[in-house]
């Protein structure tokens, strides 16, 4: 039996969290959304330690949506940690960041993120992103447009 899908959103900016929650709600998301606001919290949550020990209140995530620019521990270190834990090998990690730097993209790929999404300016575009993500989680098929690109384009995010 596959577990119910749980998405752990790792994001420190409160309005970004608010917009994503709203977008997932409008997209009719069928998974459970949990939020960790720092890199350290994300690791504690995933490990089920400390405040996150109760798995009925904090179910183990099947997917992680990871910001890169995080307090305490940067997103890429969180990713590196996740990939070093055998028990978490089945977890799907996507990066969602405002960085379009090719070095972030390259490191994200090397460390085993499945896709790299750039935070859109517009809520309408964010809603599309939420719908695609919901489809991915529901069907297990990664949207073709989210396969790794050769490089992140410098412009165009409306």
């Amino acid at each position: 039996m596959t577990p119910d899908p749980v998405l752990l959103l790792v994001e420190d900016d409160e309005s970004d969290v608010l917009f994503l929650k709203r977008a997932f709600q409008k997209a009719g998301a069928t998974f459970r959304l949990q939020v960790a606001q720092t890199g350290r919290d994300a690791i504690a949550y995933l490990a089920g330690e400390g405040a996150y020990a109760d798995r009925s209140a904090f179910p183990a995530p099947t997917h992680v949506l990871l910001d890169l620019n995080l307090p305490e521990k940067p997103g890429l270190e969180v990713l590196e940690w996740i990939r070093s834990v055998p028990a978490l090998s089945g977890i799907h990690v996507s990066i969602l960041t405002s960085s379009r730097e090719s070095r972030d993209l390259r490191r994200g790929r090397e460390l085993g993120a499945e896709c790299y999404l750039v935070k859109p300016m517009s809520f309408a575009v964010l809603l599309d992103l939420a719908r695609s993500l919901n489809e991915w989680i529901r069907t297990g098929q990664i949207p073709p447009a989210w396969e790794w690109p050769a490089e992140v384009s410098g412009r165009s995010t409306k």
């Binding site: 900016d13 970004d16 964010l126």
Partner: protein
């Protein structure tokens, strides 16, 4: 005699030390502007999205004038996003690693043009890119930036109802290649031509395009990093010819930074 020698050695040491200090100050400043630009994006996204939601979901409950204001906030945020992107592009150009290779300028120009035409509003432009231009020894991403920014300006700054016409040509000049982009745009007054390639320089108030000042600075920085030169000849009302001179010979790889 010994004294003079000491002074000389001393002087050289001081020059080296100051140069190093200056370099690290520049690097710090570049990292600073990069961080600022990134951090500016987060609150800007909130401004954009909140006002967008205001328009789309609360629009009917707001008076016409209020809706208009909310839309102004959205478009202001979009302009600022463009500016931040240009700033980041500029700072990225100063930091990126370069990979020099022999390139056909017409291929790079054609590729840059393709991206521009898809988003072009207004009369369909006539762009002629000469074939068989002499090869240049350049970095592909930087050369792409050069064409992208020149061509984008050429398509944008034309008189009302005028079909933009641009020609990209080139010729060999000794160990260099001189590439030219001629347009039929509004032209640039002589007193502005010298300031054209500096960062953040705004030319006149009538241009409702916040990015212009940075874009030509991007070109200059890109060209300088490829050990070339650039410039402009222009006459108001008659169009402009932007030129770039780049090395045409293969150099030691990994070279200039």
């Amino acid at each position: 005699m010994q004294k003079v020698q000491d002074l000389n050695t001393n002087l050289e040491e001081r020059v080296t030390e100051r140069t190093q200090r200056l370099r690290s100050a520049i690097r710090e400043l570049e990292a600073f502007s990069y961080t600022i630009a990134h951090d500016l994006r987060t609150p800007l996204r909130a401004i954009h999205r909140f006002s967008e939601i205001l328009v789309s979901e609360y629009g009917p409950r707001i008076e016409e004038q209020g809706q208009h204001y909310a839309r102004q906030i959205v478009s202001g945020a979009e302009k600022m996003d463009t500016l931040i992107n240009d700033l980041l592009e500029y700072s990225r150009l100063t930091q990126s690693e370069l990979h020099f290779q022999m390139l056909h300028p017409e291929d790079t120009a054609t590729e840059a043009l393709k991206g521009l035409l898809s988003g072009h509003a207004g009369r369909a432009p006539e762009v002629v890119i000469d074939r068989n231009l002499p090869e240049v020894d350049a970095d592909r991403i930087l050369l792409h930036q050069v064409f992208l920014n020149f061509l984008s300006n050429a398509l944008k700054f034309v008189g009302k109802d005028v079909q933009p016409k641009v020609r990209v040509s080139g010729e060999r000049r000794g160990a260099h290649v001189l590439l030219s982009m001629s347009d039929n745009g509004i032209g640039i007054p002589p007193e502005l031509q010298g300031r054209l390639f500096r960062v953040f320089e705004r030319l006149g108030d009538s241009r409702n395009d916040p990015g212009t000042g940075i874009r030509l600075a991007i070109v200059r920085r890109a060209v300088e990093r490829m050990e070339g030169e650039c410039g402009v000849e222009s006459e108001v009302g008659k169009g402009s010819r932007f030129w770039v001179r780049l090395p045409s010979t293969v150099r030691d790889s990994g070279g200039a930074s």
